[in-house]
């Protein structure tokens, strides 16, 4: 079997589905994440047999998810319609306990509302970095930019969040 042969597509869903959904919940909100998830994987499935390398499939999927999230924001109109209620954006009910060090799964709703208001590239970079634990090299690949630019986007995004949140 050739080394670079593509794994069964099911393996991509099984191994990376959770990361892609986490990324999308964070970037388009809970209520729309499922639709954009479907668009992402169907686009991936269409292109899959023509993919030349089996390396970095996670980055490849997150790149598609990033593009679909941007399309989605454009379609919804970023300013006119917020990405979702705080609960939706956070993927869970707001915690009554606001101390970040004891925050439960799902992250902080207000923070995610702030994240969804970031410019697309910063938003994706921040989400990839923290919601999916991606390296800067991975983010650079996913967002099709240099590692420095990826680092800068994450940094600028965090700064903006801190500004709004402090």
């Amino acid at each position: 079997m050739p080394d670079e042969s593509l794994p069964p597509f099911q393996a991509l869903l099984d191994e990376h589905g959770s990361d892609v959904l986490g990324f999308l919940v964070a970037s388009v909100g809970h209520s729309d994440a499922e639709d954009v998830f479907q668009e992402t994987f169907i686009a991936a499935l269409r292109a899959y047999p023509r993919l030349e390398h089996a390396s970095n499939l996670r980055s490849w999927l997150l790149t598609i998810a990033h593009r679909k999230a941007i399309d989605h924001h454009r379609y919804r109109g970023r300013r006119a319609v917020p990405a979702g209620s705080p609960e939706e954006v956070a993927g869970g009910k707001p915690s009554s306990n606001n101390r970040p060090d004891t925050m439960v799964e799902g992250g902080d709703p207000e923070l995610w509302t702030a994240v969804s208001g970031l410019p697309p590239k910063q938003r994706s970079a921040v989400v990839l970095r923290f919601a999916t634990d991606m390296s800067y090299a991975g983010i650079a690949k996913a967002l099709d930019c240099s590692q420095d630019a990826a680092r800068r986007s994450v940094h600028e995004g965090l700064q903006k969040l801190r500004g709004e949140f402090a």
């Binding site: 069964p8 589905g17 959904l21 479907q38 799902g106 919601a131 969040l161």
Partner: protein, 210 residues
Amino acid sequence: MNPLSDKQLEKMLRNDPPAGDLDRAVQGVLAAAERDGLVDVAYASVDSPFGKLLVARTDRGVVRLKLPGGRDAKISDEETLEALATYVSPRVLEAPNRLDEERRELEEYFEGKRDHFDLAVDWQLTSPGFRSRALHAVARIPYGKTKTYADIAKAAGNARAFRAAGTACGRNPIPLIVPCHRVVQSGGGIGNYGGGPTMKHALLDLEGAL
């Protein structure tokens, strides 16, 4: 609220989706993939008295059936699926609904209620020539009957190639449906089987061929 440290901010941003949401999202992908005709190879696990079978099909028919025991047990399901991705299409998805008919007929067969399969077969994993002719001959052996490796060699056009007929049976990608368990040794021995000789014996017993 105090200004957040990077650590706190990072912690708040980590956001795993709930498992139930993921299941539903994955099911949505599968439904859309089927609707758009993007599932080139659908597979499912099918229960049998011998353990779980892995059954895969294309639009043309059943392309692969992996037995649970014997030599087949040494190949993992992952390896089987990887081979399908490489040699058939990488668009391989778990789609149990697409294999409902296969599941039903196999269950009936194991219960002794079915003496033939009405399932289409996709032969693309069988190399053309002697092996293909041999396995087509195997496919014609009726329920409850046996043939020898020599019979199969002869039917495939080379009466002396009984060892090659054995190899063809050994490489049968679709056992049970292409019933290589009905091929036995001329001297009366049961011969090898991908699912192990015990399973072969049990199948021939089920069919009343012993």
